[in-house]
C-alpha cells in the first residue's frame, strides 16, 4: 500500500516534463530526463528531486567545458496538482552559473524561504527570518533524501 502510494506520487510528482521520460540516477540521487542536444553540440536536460511537499526542477546545460545551471523551478502541492511557487533563471550576458550541488541547494532554500515569507506577509503574519530559513532548509533537505526511499 505504501509502495503504491509512493509510486503514484512519483508519477504525479514530475510535472512539466513535456512528455519526457525520466530515469533515476542513484549516484547523483536524482531523476534525470533525456537530454536534447542542440546544433551547437550543447546538451540540455532536467534534474528532478521531490518530496511529499515539494518538487524541484533543475534546468541543466552541458557545454563543451562546463555544466551550467540554467534555472530552478519550485513546485508545491495543491491536492494532487503541482503549483509553481518559484522560478529563477540564469544565463545570458554575464549571468552564467556553473552547476554545483551546494549552490543549487542554497538557491532552492532561498527560493522556498522567499515563498514562505511572501505567503506569511500576504496573510498578515509575522515570522522571523530564522524560522523561515530553518523550516525551508529542513524541507529542502527532506527533498534531497526522499528519492532514495522510493527509488
Amino acid at each position: 500500500m505504501a509502495t503504491t502510494a509512493l509510486t503514484r506520487l512519483a508519477e504525479k510528482a514530475l510535472p512539466a516534463l513535456s512528455g519526457a521520460s525520466v530515469t533515476y540516477n542513484p549516484e547523483k540521487n536524482v531523476y534525470l530526463t533525456l537530454g536534447y542536444t542542440s546544433a551547437a553540440g550543447n546538451t540540455y536536460f532536467k534534474a528532478v528531486r521531490f518530496s511529499d511537499r515539494l518538487a524541484v526542477h533543475y534546468d541543466i546545460g552541458e557545454g563543451y567545458a562546463y555544466t551550467f545551471l540554467n534555472g530552478i523551478t519550485l513546485f508545491a502541492w495543491d491536492g494532487n496538482q503541482a503549483v509553481i511557487i518559484g522560478k529563477k533563471m540564469w544565463g545570458g550576458c554575464g549571468n552564467w552559473v556553473c552547476f554545483s550541488e551546494r549552490f543549487a541547494l542554497e538557491q532552492t532554500v532561498q527560493m522556498l524561504k522567499n515563498y514562505l515569507e511572501g505567503q506569511a506577509k500576504a496573510i498578515g503574519q509575522c515570522v522571523s527570518e530564522q524560522q523561515l530559513l530553518t523550516f525551508s532548509r529542513q524541507m529542502v533537505n527532506d527533498v534531497q533524501t526522499y528519492q532514495k526511499r522510493i527509488a
Binding site: R53, N80, Q119, A122
Partner: protein, 167 residues
C-alpha cells in the same frame, strides 16, 4: 510561550506547504525570482506547463503568459493594464512566437508598449510631448512594477486588484 509560538508557526508553514493530496491554503503566490504574483498554472496534454504572472505599481499592471517546454521558458504574451478608478482596462497587448523569456526582454518590451500607449493618448489629445520624456515616464512605471512584494514599503493595498485578474 516560545514553544506555543513555534507550534503556531509550524502549523502555518504546513498549511502553506501541504503534503501531497492535501489542498493548499488559497493565498496569492509571490515569486521573488520573477518579481511577480503567480496566478496559476496548467499542464497541457503534451506535458508542457503554462502559467500567468502579474506585477504592478500604482499606475499599471503587467501580465505575463509564460510557457515551459522541456528546459526552456517562453514568453507567450504580455498585457499592460491601466487603472480606471479601481477597475483595470487593457491598454496594450503583444503575442510572441518561440521567444525565450528573460527579465531584460520583459522590461524592454513593457517600456516600449507603454511608450506606444502614452504616445497614442497624447496624439489623440492633440498635445505635443518630448518623446524622451515619454520614454522616461514609461521606464519609471515599469521599474516601479518590478518592486518586490517582500520590500517593507511595498503598497500592500494594491494586492486588492488580484481577484480581478484571477477571474
Amino acid at each position: 510561550m516560545a514553544s506555543f509560538e513555534k507550534a503556531l508557526t509550524k502549523d502555518l508553514f504546513e498549511n502553506l506547504l501541504p503534503k501531497f493530496g492535501t489542498p493548499r491554503k488559497r493565498v496569492p503566490v509571490w515569486d521573488e525570482g520573477q518579481k511577480m504574483f503567480l496566478l496559476g498554472n496548467y499542464e497541457s496534454e503534451r506535458g508542457n506547463m503554462y502559467y500567468e504572472g502579474i506585477r504592478f505599481c500604482e499606475n499599471i499592471v503587467i501580465k505575463e503568459k509564460v510557457g515551459l517546454c522541456h528546459t526552456w521558458t517562453y514568453i507567450d504574451s504580455l498585457e499592460i493594464y491601466a487603472f480606471n478608478g479601481t477597475r483595470l482596462e487593457l491598454v496594450q497587448k503583444r503575442d510572441y512566437e518561440k521567444t525565450f523569456r528573460n527579465e531584460e526582454l520583459i522590461r524592454n518590451e513593457a517600456e516600449q508598449m507603454l511608450c506606444n500607449f502614452i504616445s497614442g493618448c497624447i496624439k489623440a489629445l492633440g498635445l505635443n510631448v518630448d518623446p524622451e520624456q515619454i520614454k522616461c515616464e514609461a521606464k519609471r512605471y515599469v521599474e516601479g512594477s518590478f518592486k518586490s512584494f517582500l520590500d517593507p514599503d511595498f503598497n500592500k493595498h494594491l494586492t486588492r486588484i488580484l481577484p480581478q485578474l484571477e477571474a
